[in-house]
Amino acid sequence: MSAQLGALIAAHLSDRRRSLLAWGLPLGLWSAFIVIIFPSVEGALSKAVQGYPEALKEAFGIGELTSVEQYLQAEMLSLIVPLALGYLAVRAVASGLSGAAESGRLDVLLSSPVSRSRIAAASFAATGVELAVVLVVTVILTALGSLVADAHLSLSAAIAGYASVWPLALLFAGLGIVATGFSLRTTVVTGAVAGALVTMYVIDLVGRLDPDLSGIRYASVFKYYGNAIEDGIDPLSFICVTLAALLLAALGAWLFERRDLSG
């Protein structure tokens, strides 16, 4: 890694240090709360879930809620964490590009001997680190919650569950860089990619609810997300989604090199 890239990543993370806590702490505390209350609601939950329609259980990945891992999957990992981290990813990557353009910082950086693609690469890499830190904070607080409530959460399962969110969220960072190739307005970039995030989630949901429409799930990255807290990480999906994110980032950097930076 070049000294320039390292400097840009460090600066990006320094600017985003408040965001690391602002996202990591609430997600971690919420996740810990879910784990802490599990022992006290375990029996009631099992009965309630038995009454749920099969389609609903299938759609939201709710199986039997007889373990804390299953409960964590249903409450956190099937919806909240992937959507939240996907949104965080696009916010983070946009702050380093369109946000920097709006504040004037991009002009200052690009007046030094650094290329636009290097700035895009640094923004993408820093977002990957930021996502990882938020996930680590979340796992640590969740594990602490399990210790406090004696919930017997498998640490390796929890790590697998949260780690599987990383490539998914990173893909939306890649999409964010592509969007920056078309607009340098942060509201446009975050709005467009957040729209894509929700749309992909809904496409996957519809595909799971209606077997006749299951083919549309290929249009959504959520098809490759799975249930890693129970099944473990699928290495192929993990690697392919990460590669897709890298390809999108490279495409975005190429577009970013070619566009005008309007004053």
Binding site: A3, A7, S103, V108, S111, P113, V114, D260, S262, G263
Partner: protein, 269 residues
């Protein structure tokens, strides 16, 4: 060899005008001013030179290098103060300097500290807490701390108080003496007159005149500054030949009057 050379450099925004057929050559250790009102195309010209905007046609070379293809190599040798300088509200000037020093491979902070002292710039307060003028001082330091060969300054004194404007003009003179080439844009005619060797007058995206400041002033003085109403330009001798005239002299024209003359001619033509 010229430090900056453009050949019919044109930038259009769709059908809207940016700059058109700008051809200019700026020599080493020269202070060149782009002069024109807001919206004339000065900033577009500068941003195209810096490769922030890609030209529609024409070409620009800086240090003999292509302004687009070799932009990274060019930027290693220049300092730029963007118009309406900003860097984000939470960062301090020192944080920005540290990052730029690392990107440029400069040991420490170069000559940032003496410059900060000279301009009374606060490098340790978040930029969002500084007034526009104090932010501009930080921007000026970011542009000059590494002693570049070429300084590009877009409306450099905007927001600076008169004392700091004086200090800035002194700095530009020192930079020229050091061998640095300076390209600045301004609509402050007085400061351009005082510091520039040559000016290019920009009107509606076109460079309508490029002259040495002294020559421009002399030219207009010869043509227009007789404070007697005549139907056409006259020579002083002719005026002196008018019966009853004891003496006649031309009043001194300043650059503002020169500038306005060019603009009026452009509008009439």
């Amino acid at each position: 060899m010229a430090v900056i050379e453009t050949e019919r450099l044109t930038k259009r925004y769709g059908s809207a005008r940016g700059i058109e057929d700008v051809t200019v050559s700026i020599e080493r250790a020269e202070v060149f001013g782009f002069l024109g009102p807001n919206g004339a195309g000065k900033t577009t010209a500068i941003r195209t030179l810096l490769d922030f905007l890609h030209p529609t046609s024409g070409e620009a070379r800086i240090f003999g290098l292509d302004s687009h293809r070799d932009s990274v190599a060019i930027h290693a040798r220049l300092g730029n103060l963007p118009g309406d300088f900003g860097y984000g509200k939470q960062s301090t000037g020192r944080e920005a300097l540290r990052l730029l020093a690392r990107l440029r491979g400069v040991e420490g902070l170069g000559r940032a500290e003496p410059l900060a002292e000279r301009f009374h710039a606060d490098l340790d307060r978040p930029l969002g807490e500084l007034s526009r003028g104090n932010r501009q001082k930080v921007g000026l330091i970011l542009a000059t701390f590494h002693s570049p060969e070429l300084l590009i300054l877009d409306e450099p004194t905007s927001g600076l108080d008169p004392l700091m404007q004086e200090e800035f003009l002194a700095l530009v003179t020192e930079e020229r003496e050091r061998g640095c080439t300076v390209l600045l844009s301004s609509h402050e005619l007085d400061e351009v007159e005082r510091v520039c060797d040559r000016v290019g007058i920009v009107r509606e995206g076109k460079l309508i005149a490029v002259e040495r400041v002294a020559k421009l002033l002399a030219k207009t003085q010869r043509r227009n500054r007789v404070e007697v109403e005549f139907s056409k330009p006259v020579e002083l001798e002719d005026v002196r030949q008018i019966p009853g005239v004891v003496d006649a002299e031309f009043a001194h024209a300043n650059l503002e009057e020169v500038f306005l003359t060019y603009y009026k001619e452009g509008e009439e033509g």
